[in-house]
Amino acid sequence: MIAAVLRILALTRKELLAVLKDKRSRLSLLIPPVVQSLIFGYAATYDLNHVPYAVLDQDHSTSSRQLLAGLDGSGIFERIADLQRISDMSAYIDSRRALLVLQIPADFERRLHQGSGADLQVIADGRNSNTAGIALGYLSDIVQQFNAGWRDAHALPRAPLEVVARAWYNPNLETRWNMIPGMIGTLSLIQTMMLTAMSVAREREQGTFDQLLVTPFRPYEIMAGKALPSMLVGTIQATGVLLVAQLWFRIPFAGSYLTLYAGLWLFLLAAIGIGLLLSSLAATMQQAMLYSMLLIMPFSLLSGLTTPLTNMPRALQYFTAINPLRYAIDIARRVYLEGAGLALLWPDLWPLAVLAALTLAAASWVFSHRMQ
C-alpha cells in the first residue's frame, strides 16, 4: 500500500516536471486564468453604463427638456445628436452610432397638461436585442420617475398600484456578481481537461507510454499519477480566479471555503475523469485535442454561465446532465452569493460524484484493456 502511494507520488512528480519544466508551458498554465478573469470580469456583463442615443425633439418645450435632462443626468444615457428631421433617425441606428433614437412629438407638453397622456416614441437597435431590451428597461425607469415627478408637481393622485421590486442575493442586479463566481469553474475547466486529455496521448505518440508500461506501475497507479498533477493545476487556477473575484472585484463571499473547495474538487475529478477517458480512447495528440475540443466548447457554452439552462430544449437539458461545468457553476454561485451549505448543494454534488466515478472507472478499464 505504502509502496503504491510512493510510486504514485513519484509518477506525479515526473508528470509535474514534464508540464512545468518548460517556461512557456509553465506560464501558459498559471497566467491565463488570472488575466482572463480580470478582463472577462469587466467584459462579461449585461449591465449597460453607456447608452448613446439621438433625439428628435419636435416639441422644444420645458417638459421635453426636463425629460431629456433626466436622461442625461442618469450617467448612463449619452446624447450624441439632436436631430432635425425624421429622415435622420434611421441613419443613426443603421450605422450603430446610437442604440436608441427618441422622438418627442410636437404635442408632447400640451397632452401632458391636458392629462390625455403623452407618448415618447423610441426606436431601438435590435441587432443585439438583449442589449436593446436592457436599454429600454432603463429608459422605462426614467419615464416612471418622470411620471412620479409630474404627478407630484401637479398635485395629481399617485399611480393606483405600484410594484415594489427587490432582488435577493444580488440587490443591485449586477451581472458581474453572477458571472465571476461562474468563471471559477469555467476558466479552470479548459486547461485542466486539455492537459489530462493530451498527457497520455502525448506519451503514446512519443512512444514513452510503452516504457511506462514495463515499469512496476499498475494501471490505476498510472492514472492516479496522471490525475493528481491536473488536480493541482486546476486547484491553483480556480484559486487564482477566486482571488481576483475577492481582492480585485470585491464581490462579498457569503459561504464557506471548505464547501466551495469540496465542490470544486469533485468537479475537477469529474473533468479529469472525462479527460482521461478521452486520452485512453485517442490514438494521437490530434485526436485527443479534437475530442476534448468537441466537449469543451459545448460544456462551456451550455453550462448556464451566460444563458439560462431552463431556456434549452428538453433534449439538450438532458445532454447537460453529463456536463460537469453546469454543476460547478451552480455550486460556485450558490456558495459564493447565497452561502449555501452542502445539504442544499446535494443535487449538484451527487451527479459530479457519479460522473467522476463512472469516467475514472471507464478510463482505467480502457487502460488495462489496451495493455493486454
Binding site: 399617485r158 486539455m194 439538450l316
Partner: protein, 383 residues
C-alpha cells in the same frame, strides 16, 4: 516581391508550378487526414446545431410563487393577470416562508406577494405589489421585473376599461425594436455563433496541422526543396481556406433553414467578409504554430486567444460600449469583434455600408499583417 532583379516570365511560371504542386500535395494530405475533415465540416455542424438550439436569452414561462394574503375579488383579478400571461407559470403558495424556501431552492424565479390590505389600499389609491426576484441571474431578473410591470400595466388598463377610477399615466413609452421586431434572441445569437465556430476551426486547422509538421520535422524536409517559405504558406493556406469555407457554408445553411434567421443583406457581402475572416483565423493559427512549434502548447494557445475572447469580448453577447476603456482597447485588437459587427448587420439590417466598409477594411489589414508576420517568423526559424 521585394527589390531585386525583375523576374522573367519563366520564373513566375516556375513559381506557379511549385505552388500548384504544393497545393495538390496539401489537398491530398487534407483529404486523407480524417481529423482535418472533422475539424472543417463535422465540428461546425455539431457546434452550430448544439448552440443554435441551446443558447437562448428569451424569458418565457417564468415559474413564480404567488402569495395571496388577500382574498378579495381585486386580488383574485390581479392574480388572474399573472395566470393568463404566457410569460409566467405562477403557482399559488399559502405563506411567505414557504415561498421563500421555493425561491432558495430555485424552484421559482420570483415571488409576487399581494398583501392582506391590498383591496383596502387599492380603494384608497395607493396599493403596492411586492415582487422579489432571485438576483443570481441578474439579466433574467431584470427582464422578469419588467414583465411583471407589464402584467400590472395590462391589469390597470383593464380596470380603466371596466370603468374604475381612470388613471392614464402622464407619459407612456412606445418602443419599437428595429431589425428584430419579435424580440427573438436567436436572431443575434446565431450570427454570433457563426463567428465563434469560424474562429475556432480556422485557428485550429492551421495551428494543429502546422505544429504537428514542425514536431515531426516534415516541414524541414520541405525547406530543402526549391520551394520558398511564402510558397509553403500559400500552399498550406489554400486547402484549409477552402475547408473553412465549407464549414462556413454549413453554418450559414443552418442559420437560414434551421434557425430561420433572416438574411437581409446580400449573400456576396456575407461571403466576401467571411472569406476575409477565414483568412484571418487561419493566419492566427499559422502564426501561433510557427512560433511555438509544439502541438500541446499550440492548441492551448489557440483555444485561449481565439475561443474565449471571441465568446466574451466580441460583442456577440455583451455590449462593447459598456466595457471599461482598457478592455475596449483590447477588443479593438480582436478580429472577431469586426466580424460580429459585420454579420449582425448583414443578417439583420441589410447592406449598411457605413458598417461594412470600415470593418472589412480592418479585417483586410489584419489578414495581410498576419500573412506577412507568419512569413517573417518562418524565415527567421529557418536560419
Amino acid at each position: 516581391m521585394t527589390v531585386g532583379p525583375v523576374m522573367p516570365d519563366s520564373a513566375w511560371a516556375l513559381k506557379l508550378r511549385r505552388i500548384r504542386a504544393l497545393v495538390r500535395k496539401e489537398t491530398y494530405q487534407v483529404m486523407r487526414d480524417p481529423s482535418s475533415i472533422a475539424i472543417g465540416i463535422v465540428l461546425p455542424l455539431i457546434l452550430i446545431l448544439l448552440f443554435g438550439y441551446g443558447l437562448s436569452l428569451d424569458v418565457k414561462n417564468v415559474p413564480l410563487a404567488l402569495v395571496m394574503e388577500d382574498g378579495s375579488s381585486d386580488a383574485v383579478e390581479l392574480a388572474g393577470a399573472f395566470e393568463l400571461s404566457p410569460y409566467f407559470r405562477p403557482q399559488r403558495v399559502l405563506s411567505m416562508p414557504l415561498a421563500q424556501r421555493l425561491l432558495l431552492e430555485q424552484k421559482v424565479d420570483g415571488i409576487v406577494r399581494i398583501q392582506s390590505d391590498f383591496a383596502h389600499r387599492l380603494a384608497a389609491g395607493d396599493a403596492s405589489l411586492q415582487l422579489i426576484v432571485h438576483g443570481a441571474d441578474a439579466n433574467r431578473a431584470r427582464i422578469i421585473q419588467s414583465y411583471v410591470q407589464g402584467a400590472v400595466g395590462v391589469w390597470s388598463a383593464q380596470r380603466v376599461a371596466e370603468g374604475h377610477a381612470a388613471d392614464t399615466p402622464p407619459l407612456t413609452l412606445e418602443s419599437r425594436l428595429w431589425f428584430n421586431e419579435a424580440n427573438d434572441s436567436s436572431y443575434f445569437l446565431v450570427p454570433g455563433l457563426i463567428v465563434l465556430v469560424m474562429t475556432l476551426i480556422g485557428g485550429l486547422l492551421t495551428s494543429m496541422v502546422m505544429a504537428r509538421e514542425w514536431e515531426r520535422g516534415t516541414l524541414e524536409a520541405l525547406f530543402v526543396t526549391p520551394v520558398r517559405s511564402d510558397e509553403i504558406l500559400l500552399g498550406k493556406t489554400l486547402p484549409y481556406f477552402l475547408l473553412g469555407l465549407m464549414g462556413l457554408g454549413v453554418c450559414v445553411f443552418a442559420a437560414e433553414f434551421l434557425f430561420r434567421v433572416p438574411l437581409r443583406g446580400s449573400l456576396w457581402v456575407l461571403l466576401g467578409a467571411s472569406m476575409l475572416y477565414v483568412l484571418v483565423a487561419l493566419g492566427i493559427g499559422l502564426l501561433i504554430s510557427s512560433w511555438v512549434k509544439n502541438q500541446l502548447v499550440a492548441s492551448q494557445l489557440t483555444m485561449l486567444v481565439t475561443f474565449m475572447p471571441a465568446f466574451m469580448l466580441s460583442g456577440f453577447l455583451f455590449d462593447l460600449r459598456s466595457m471599461p476603456l482598457i478592455v475596449r482597447f483590447i477588443t479593438y485588437l480582436l478580429p472577431a469583434r469586426y466580424y460580429v459587427a459585420l454579420l449582425q448587420s448583414v443578417f439583420l439590417a441589410g447592406d449598411v455600408w457605413s458598417v461594412i466598409v470600415p470593418n472589412t477594411l480592418v479585417l483586410a489589414v489584419m489578414a495581410t499583417a498576419l500573412g506577412m508576420s507568419s512569413r517573417a517568423v518562418m524565415n527567421k526559424r529557418l536560419i
